[in-house]
Amino acid sequence: MIRLEKRKEPSKFWRIANPFLAVVLTMLAGAVMFAMLGKDPVVAIRLIFFDPIFSETFGSYSRPQLLIKSAPLILIAVGLAIGFKANIWNIGAEGQYIMGALFGAGVALAFFPAPGWYIFPLMVAAGAFGGFLWAMIPAILKTRFNTNEILVSLLLVYVAERILAAMALGLMRNPDIAGFPGSRDLRRYDAAHNAELFANTGIHWGVVAALIAVIFAYVMMTRHMLGFHVQLAGQAPRAARFAGVVPARLVVICLGISGALAGLAGMFEVSGPGGQVRIEFATGYGFTAIIVAFLGRLNPIGIVLAGLLLGLTYIGGELGQMMLQLPGAAIQVFQGMLLFFLLALDFQTNYRLRLTRGARA
């Protein structure tokens, strides 16, 4: 007979090994999926996971893309992970990402076409503020009315998407081109352009911000009382109150940090790689970041690795679409499977499978 038995202490080995194992299993399951779609599984997997970096043909294009795709994922996931540790579930980062982009772009468009060094910093502040503000809605509803933050933050994504559409079609539409939705291209407005800092590296201010956020989060979670309180509140809420944690304040802090970081990610995207406010601007970074946070074990360093990996699948997915006519949704399935495998494997961290001899027939 097989029994599931709780370990006295979670296994450190499996905690670290599981994400890698999950990636391997996802590749295998993905290969099966591609075979079922009638594609050569080996080619497809290589195209997604290896070619973006090692291929001679696409490498020069796709290598810089890696940081461009990973930076927003990491930036958002670092914030989400802090909340998740405290059992505060902000799953509406996509909405905060959109609002950050709209606030940032709003500042840029208001100043257009004035030059000035201060415009970009103002946009950064506005982007963070936009995401923060949007995250404060579930935060305040939770602390004042005890409303579930999961549902509110998620529902607000749909609201933000519609505000984005309204902006692209209305207030922020480029007045110079009649008939087309979408704002001016911020890449053509020097004072507002989040340009590449080093040619052909993909490094823009968003990458720098992600790096700072990772260091900041790491120090906070391991060395600072606030990080200790976050973990305490997540693991044992009553013990946290005993330790003097005010739960409402923690909700505001966690949602505020993750909202502001998601807003920053949106702002860096709209002023750089994205370029303009468009209806299709939001491509699901806010949701993929949830996977990144879990895959990275809610640990800032782990999140960097997980963010790079999922950034890779985005680029690989695009390559797959181009080269093999892989459906775009295949990548979404891939990312979903990754999270499934990780969760499923994690039982090994906390439990041990034991074969018990049937003493009684």
Binding site: H224, F228, L232, Q235, R241
Partner: protein, 508 residues
């Protein structure tokens, strides 16, 4: 000797790392009141879980009236005539009494008939119950009645009772004993689990004593003294705590006429609470579980805020201060629930040391944690309070109840407080650890701190308190000197037997 109803032969059950029961054999006679005695962790619950079909023995067998008996699940045990009243965990707050009863029966009649039968049985045995009430609204004593009635409706041959008196006032205990004697006279055997020796001597014909998973004796408890039974149970001679009788000092903690709503929908609100606590004094607060003990602790620790001036620490108003504000001024607390409230189960002892000590032990600077210093502090606690553990890196949940409690109480005592509030300091703790903890509290009082102990264990309170009060439905009785109080007096302070008294008279 009556014919055996249930015979246990060589029952053995091992869990990883512990042998919970090792070759346990004894008989329970028809209609017998059989006590199962042992300390926490002696293996009493595992043994009854095997009889009730919740746990399968690794080895050994049982026979019921001569037939092999190996229930694979509780429903099978119930069909064979075995019923059980649990100490915790078997009622559903959001369901009504009748539904709760039905869930514990094999073939319950339709709910309307069941409601009538509940009324009949509860009247017959002096256990008044309203079948339509939600269980979440009932007192601890009433909840136990639900469990008992549930069993009685199935005409059990063997009724297992797990620590039934821990939730009752002394007067309620007397009434429960009347009910149990009546059942026994009607031929129902009772397996009575307890660690309260006087109770067992008053009630049972035979006692089996477990220690460390093994049977150490089966005897007639009426022929042994409580001290002899205790030594069989604990395996060593216990010394009562020492105390120095010193004059008490100034008032350090004062609560004035405080009323406060509970933060829990099924909780008890505090009503007009007033008391004072002096330097060097131990104030004991008794009461049956669920009469406001949790709320009292939360209000004093600062987890529930109160009007500023109604709680005074060394004269200064502190009602508005949270836990850290009060700690800074010298008030510390140790809540009842060790895992999850006083300590975080999945954190190491070092992290748990930081939990309440950050401020008073200056373990942080500008919010940044000095982990080395914190670990040294955790090591100090472990050394000074004899916490048995490989080291401060161990998770709190890996410690035994007694060791973790020594750690938690030790942590608070190490903060060198002027006032310490503890709730159930020795609940679920082995006798040796309990003695250590009581001694540590008395030593702290001797050094001049005010000590407030909330407990449901009357013997403990009488042993260590200077003054004494009782909580009943959120109200605190007047405080009286502990010397000269009888258990009877205390029972009346705790609210007597409530409505049960009346019912028994009516049915007599």
């Amino acid at each position: 000797m009556r014919a055996p109803l249930l015979r246990l032969e060589g029952l053995t059950k091992a869990y990883p790392g512990v042998v919970a029961n090792d070759d346990v054999s004894f008989d329970i006679g028809e209609g017998q009141m059989h006590a199962l005695l042992g300390e926490n962790g002696a293996g009493k619950s595992t043994l009854v879980k095997m009889i009730y079909g919740l746990v399968k023995p690794d080895k050994g067998q049982m026979t019921l009236r001569g037939q092999p008996f190996a229930p694979s699940q509780p429903s099978q045990a119930r069909r064979s005539g075995v019923a059980m009243v649990f100490q915790h965990f078997s009622l559903f707050d959001a369901l009504d009494v009748a539904e709760n009863v039905a869930l514990g029966m094999e073939n319950p009649p339709p709910l309307r008939d069941l409601a009538r039968r509940i009324r009949d049985v509860s009247e017959e045995y002096g256990l008044p119950l309203d079948p339509a009430r939600l269980v979440g609204e009932l007192s601890a004593g009433e909840r136990q009645r639900v469990e008992i009635v549930r069993c009685l409706l199935q005409d059990p041959k063997l009724l297992i009772m797990d620590e039934p008196t821990s939730v009752l006032t002394p007067q309620e205990v007397d009434i429960l004993f009347l009910t149990l004697r009546k059942l026994s006279a009607e031929g129902t055997a009772i397996l009575y689990i307890s660690h309260k020796l006087e109770e067992i001597r008053a009630l049972c014909d035979e006692a089996t004593i477990l220690r460390g998973g093994q049977k150490v004796a089966t005897c007639d408890p009426r022929e042994k003294s409580a001290r002899e039974l205790a030594e069989l149970m604990v395996g060593q001679v216990l010394t009562p705590p020492e105390r120095a009788d010193k004059p008490k000092g100034d008032v350090v903690l004062q609560v004035d006429n405080l009323s406060l709503a509970s933060n829990n929908p099924f909780g008890t609100s505090l009503k007009n609470i007033s008391f004072t606590l002096r330097k060097g004094e131990v104030l004991g607060i008794a009461g049956v579980a669920g009469n406001g003990q949790d709320e009292l602790l939360l209000m004093l620790s600062g987890e529930l805020l109160a009007p500023s001036a109604q709680v005074r620490l060394k004269g200064a108003p502190v009602g508005h201060l949270g836990p850290n504000g009060r700690r800074a001024l010298g008030l510390v607390a140790a809540p009842e629930e060790r895992l999850g409230h006083a300590a975080a189960p999945d954190m190491s002892l070092t992290e748990n040391a930081l939990l309440s000590a950050a401020r008073r032990k200056m373990l942080t600077k500008h919010g940044f944690i000095d982990w080395r210093k914190t670990e040294r502090f955790a090591d100090d606690i472990i050394g000074r309070f004899d916490v048995r553990t490989p080291g401060p890196h161990v998770l709190a949940r890996a410690l035994s109840g007694g060791n973790l409690q020594k750690f938690v109480i030790g942590r608070e005592i190490e903060l060198d407080p002027d006032v310490i509030i503890v709730n159930q300091p020795t609940w679920g703790v082995d006798a040796a650890a309990a003695a250590t903890i009581r001694q540590a509290l008395l030593d702290l009082a001797a050094k001049g701190a005010g000590v407030l102990v909330i407990s449901q264990d009357l013997d403990e309170l009488l042993e260590i308190s200077d003054r004494f009060a009782a909580l009943n439905e959120g109200r605190l009785s007047d405080t009286r000197p502990a010397k000269g109080l009888t258990v009877e007096d205390i029972g009346l302070m705790m609210g007597g037997a409530g409505d049960m008294h009346v019912a028994h008279k009516a049915s007599a």
